[in-house]
Point group: C2
Chain length 108, copies 2
DNA sequence: CGATCCCGTAAGTCATCGCTTACGGTAAGT
DNA sequence: ACTTACCGTAAGCGATGACTTACGGGATCG
């Protein structure tokens, strides 16, 4: 549960989500990621650092270029938190609904 | 896909996630939520406003108290984004792996 | 070797966020 | 009616965040 915070903080930024979406189609170099994004290339570099520290992205040097790719395992903690939260929330929601339903039969 | 941004931004804050976790066990009034949290009650009110605007939480007046509860539907967009992202990322990841594997057989 | 492309980092700026204290307003209890 | 509990909002402040421009260092090609 340790990396959950960094992961959520990373995904919270819209530009960073755009980077992730672009990377989800396959590995890319920094310049290719920056092309088409509304921010400068250094900004993309900073975003990539955040994503890398959050474990959402992996970096590989290929000559002078740095190739970035999605780290599928990095999404695990976030999905786990969301799933567990969803599960317990839905369970207590249904329990509440049944409780209200029973109370209505009690006092119509 | 409109509310995705607000939802992710809302969940990004650790205190807000604590509020959600507390609410996942069942509806609570503002004071009960604030009890046990490391911030003041007005801070909790502000967090609840953010969560409500993001569609993650619903509010109901009960006398002088305001009861907050999880809105199960509010999590939908976020989960949808994550699932689709996960799916395409994993697919392209496997495709890349197979491509590399084939290249290795080509030049051992 | 020099020019060029690739990129990360430093420094600085402007906006936004999360928090606090202080206040006002509505609902219930005496 | 007066007090007490419960809560939202306003104002202000310190901290963080996302950007920009400017720089420097390594890889590649002539």
């Amino acid at each position: 549960m340790a990396y959950v915070n960094a992961a959520f903080a990373a995904v919270a930024d819209p530009t960073r989500r755009q980077v992730l979406e672009r990377l989800s189609a396959g590995p890319l170099a920094v310049g290719q990621i920056a092309t088409g994004l509304p921010v400068s290339r250094p900004a993309v570099s900073q975003h990539l650092k955040v994503l890398k520290d959050a474990g959402l992205v992996r970096e590989r040097a290929e000559g002078a270029r740095r190739i970035y790719a999605i780290d599928p395992a990095g999404l695990g903690p976030m999905r786990a938190w969301l799933d567990q939260f969803w599960e317990t929330a839905l369970a207590s929601f249904q329990a509440e609904a049944e409780r209200v339903h029973a109370a209505e039969k009690e006092t119509p």
